[in-house]
Symmetry: C2
Subunit: 271 residues, 2 copies
């Protein structure tokens, strides 16, 4: 690669760091790639840092010392988070989305990368200081949401299987009572999936009574995991019954769902 | 936002464009945000474009005219793709990964965002010219792979459910014969999930005989969809039996899996 001017290097550095969010890159690597002195890279990074500071979309973190380097921490500004949740609530309130059984059709939104990405950043921002080692969810619809959250935090994801489907060596299964249907169900996780004493962030798309979340917590105890947070995209708040779990964060609340009148009321709660 | 210098604007523009890959941003929006003339933004963009050109990680595409603008197309260089697939093959060849039934434990890799991201870029690069409208997969383990591919292409993802689990209004189900187990199984998709005549890219994590891929193709016919490609991460090539589908692209081939000797041979094929 031929030698670049400062502005060009700054753009290239921004690109490389954004491609690997949360990953520490040593300054020496940039110095080698751009054939320039580490002190020059250091100045470039200061300028990039300053330029990103105002955007609210993410910032650079520099770690000094021999094992140090620089990494890009992705973020979402409060203003953008508010706009995203307001717009999502509005879309969910469309009466065409009402399904039998008191549910809302959300699948198209939950599987759309451009909608998921900011939601992952919101969850990551809310739970980053809890330092989770892994994001845990249960199949199926919460998987994309858990994945974008894991990526924004720079940690892997683990997916609990419904039933006894695990074909991956020995596994741990627990029975749990789905709070809304009152039916006994099973969830399983391969022993390989989690090391002992990991810090776990639970992410799911929907919570009604909280039975599934409680089940996941019980399963995590079997792995001696430390549940450091629970993030839920939409929490049903239609009855005043208390949830089976406490201390979760929901981004949206479903306050009303009337199939007869076609009226749904979803409101953002994390603002 | 106070007025920035060129280098600072270039970094900020790079960040904004990379945060929304494949999305067209009008120049006027940047001009307003950075309080400068459109002609200045135009020059900034030329410089950013030049700087990104050499990296192989993605480039800018500018569309002229009133409805025009600029977008970031994420890419992976051939060299990096090769390195990623070689490293993945090596990890899969670890004998600790052998599972009963002729499978390899891949879940930790399939659920790790930093491993998934480049794989999505490889699939996107291979199929971008086919202009898919949507990426389709079947639950569960292929979902993250399909999602990162969809994001790299800038399209939504659709997930087919195993069995008859769809609770989302009317759905279409088909029976199919899983090629390896010879058992009749069911897959279903909500009618809401796909519009008619969409161009579909099928992505899955593993193919043995190809029965699942054939099933997905049949289901797509029910939606009058046009299957423009099939991308598979690992294809088992242990027997010489022909697959039930043709014209797919696999990134890795499993050539040998011997639980007795603990020998697995996975090789990259897309180089």
């Amino acid at each position: 690669m031929e030698k670049m001017k400062r502005a060009e290097r700054m753009v290239a550095i921004t690109q490389v760091l954004m491609l690997k969010p949360n990953v520490l890159t040593p300054l020496a690597l940039f110095a080698e790639q751009f054939r320039t002195a580490k002190s020059t890279i250091s100045e470039d990074l200061m300028a990039v840092k300053g330029s990103l500071q105002l955007s609210g979309h993410g910032h650079l973190e520099t770690i000094p010392g021999a094992a140090g380097g620089v990494r890009y921490i992705p973020e979402i500004s409060k203003g953008e988070a508010t706009a995203v949740l307001n717009s999502l609530a509005e879309r969910l309130n469309d009466k065409e989305r009402i399904l039998a059984g008191g549910f809302i059709y959300m699948t198209d939104l939950l599987f759309n990368p451009s909608i998921l990405r900011p939601l992952g950043l919101i969850f990551a921002g809310a739970f980053r200081q809890k330092k989770p080692d892994v994001v845990v969810t249960i199949e199926t619809k919460g998987i994309p949401l858990a994945l974008v959250t894991a990526e924004a935090l720079g940690v892997p994801m683990v997916v609990i299987r419904s039933g006894n489907k695990v074909t991956e060596g020995s596994s741990v299964s627990i029975n749990y009572v789905s709070g809304s249907s009152r039916r006994i169900q099973t969830m399983s996780l391969s022993r390989r999936a989690l090391e002992a004493r990991q810090r776990v962030l639970i992410i799911d798309d929907f919570m009604k009574a909280g039975g599934t979340a409680l089940g996941i917590k019980s399963l995590m105890e079997e792995f001696q995991a430390d549940v450091v947070g629970i993030g839920i995209l939409v929490e049903a708040q239609i009855t005043s019954e208390p949830k089976l779990v406490e201390g979760y964060l929901s981004l949206l609340q479903l306050k009303e769902l009337n199939p007869d009148s076609g009226k749904t009321t979803v409101v953002p709660v994390f603002l």
